[in-house]
Symmetry: C2
Subunit: 336 residues, 2 copies
DNA sequence: CCAATAAATGATATCGATAACAACAATGCG
DNA sequence: CGCATTGTTGTTATCGATATCATTTATTGG
């Protein structure tokens, strides 16, 4: 930076100001400085800048898996929502593992982010402590934890399942199964299963048709395998609610292979509004949790918290209402 | 850090050393320091550390889209490959846009990464200049640029197409179309199309059945629409090579809707070895570019370059051989 | 025309760590 | 026993920027 200052015939301080948009600098001076910087191929060192100003421009974000269209959409919303304020997302993924999350959060905090976004509501004790003591806004997304750390931008996974059950019952199905929902690692999937069980029971229906599909991420293949197990155990099942669209699609391909008509013999519903659920034949009923919107709202909340200053005392809750997308895979009445 | 030093009764320098694994510190002293740090909830400031040691621990990575399983796998390979050396991926996406890439690269370079990984071979002039002058290893992936900046870890998209053409011809098809491949933005998709044309021509076959599917990312829906256009223009088409598995699956659903048998009436091939191509009915012939492997090899190359020092003069090329996955969608002979 | 204000720039200390060197104790070896 | 070696810790300067305060030069209104 002092090289640039010399080249432009000003002090380093003026160069520093020329790179901030808001500061007092003469337009011509700034122009000259930017030109000099360009000649020298100078790019500012954000790390040093951050050290001095105590603003790193980072927002840390953890997601369970990078290879998941839903979380990717949320990250997209975050990235784009934070861009206007010059904030950059620092991304890490946990592999659906809380110990890994703890390690990751520790690593991310060493970068002194100005806020941190985590997915889900369950963390290791140490992880929670770190988040509480970090002294920055913490946003929990994709869930509504019973005991939030700070702010929430999420939705009720349980209620989403309830919505689907309601729809299936309305179309005349009562022998309904749930596919997926691992208790140990996938808390959101487990919430969906819990919501399913609760809703079924509250309607006086049998809520014991539960098939595991292994730990997340649930692949299409695992969805197919799980459907096979489901049908061999409960052959008279009329509908199956899947923990995700990927499992649902896998399950549907298994139906095709077995010659089970969808939705004639069995109805299938998924979760996540993945593109595949819309385009496959027949299209699969799903829940759109509005992933991109979640990211955008989280970004907005962060910007608010960072500008308002110590308003952060209030633990805000921003709830997003998932939408039920009724499609052909559950639409028609039962034919048999 | 000086708080921790006081708490542990040592100098700040010793605390600094205690956090590095390689340094000379008495085991008991280190234990005491780590304990003190834990009591005070101290986490090291990597930014300050980086400023001083001139090692930020960042590796910048740009990908066209975050919502793409192939690129996500490469990022996974990079992340995991770099983890052992304590290097952290700093991710950004370009939306398949070179101006956006330039902006992103500039932003990423302000973070002083120790290396940078970019996808593809075409950049704006300024972007290329920045990369060349950054003074750090630059890895270009997913492609084999004619005029590499530094190191390459990639494969030939054109040859991958040629492989598919060879397979289709071997199964008796000659009226083959290519779906997708936008010249303006998706250089890799365009390379695949170019490879298709070249291979068809070299076999003396008609290489004019080309259908655009719009700018990337190509959705399943766009694949379906493109197939509709293809069949209305060239109804006698016997096989279609798609720019990606997503387009291929979309195209296949359109066949289902139109009652066209796959592979009986028309064979379909994709690219990318997405899970869907393996599980759909029928499974779709595809190319596995070994995305995770690309990431891992890039990580390894970076680690080599960073440790060897000024060996970086040699512009290495690490080539990965894509695998053809023959599946039912192209397998059987033509039935009509 | 002058005091008051605003605009533009500079000087200095500092952010939180580490590099580099110095200092000293313990150990080994001829 | 003395000197070289290794292990362990401390001191000082510094990385590249910015906060803060000081200073200088327009600008404005009474």
């Amino acid at each position: 930076m002092s090289d640039v200052a010399r080249e432009a015939g000003v002090s380093p301080m003026t160069v520093s100001r020329a790179f901030k948009s808001d500061a007092y600098v003469n337009d011509e001076t700034r122009k000259a400085i930017l030109l000099a910087a360009d000649r020298l191929g100078y790019v500012m060192d954000s790390m040093a800048s951050g050290l001095s100003s105590r603003k790193t421009g980072f927002v840390a974000v953890t997601i369970p898996s990078i290879n998941n269209a839903n979380f990717a959409d949320t990250v997209r919303g975050l990235t784009e929502g934070l861009q206007e304020k010059g904030l950059q997302v620092l991304l890490g993924y946990t592999n659906y593992n809380q110990e890994e999350e703890e390690r990751l959060v520790r690593q991310l905090l060493t970068r002194r982010p100005e806020a941190i976004v985590v997915t889900g509501g369950t963390h290791t004790g140490k992880c929670r402590t770190m988040l509480e003591n970090a002294g920055i806004p913490v946003i929990e997304t994709w869930d509504i934890p019973a005991d939030p750390i700070d702010s929430i931008v999420g939705f009720s996974n349980a209620e989403a399942s309830a919505k689907i059950v309601g729809h299936l019952v309305a179309t005349g199905r009562t022998k309904i199964a749930f596919l997926g929902g691992d208790a140990s690692r996938d808390t959101r999937g487990f919430d969906r299963r819990r919501g399913f069980v609760r809703e079924m029971e509250s309607r006086g229906l049998d809520a014991t048709r539960l098939v595991e599909a292994g730990p997340p991420p649930i692949s299409m293949r695992e969805g197919a395998d799980a459907l096979a197990r489901l049908m061999s155990r409960w052959p008279d099942t009329e509908a199956v609610v899947c923990v995700s669209d990927l499992a649902a699609f896998g399950a549907m391909t298994e139906c095709q292979r077995r010659g089970l008509a969808v939705p004639g013999t069995i109805a299938i519903a998924g979760f996540g509004a993945y593109e595949i659920s819309d385009i496959c034949v027949p299209p699969i009923t799903s829940i759109d949790p509005h992933c991109y919107q979640i990211g955008l709202l989280a970004a907005r909340r962060i910007i608010d918290l960072l500008s308002d200053g110590p308003d952060s005392g209030t633990k805000s809750q921003t709830l997003v209402e998932p939408s039920l997308l009724v499609r052909a895979s559950t639409l028609s009445e039962r034919s048999s």
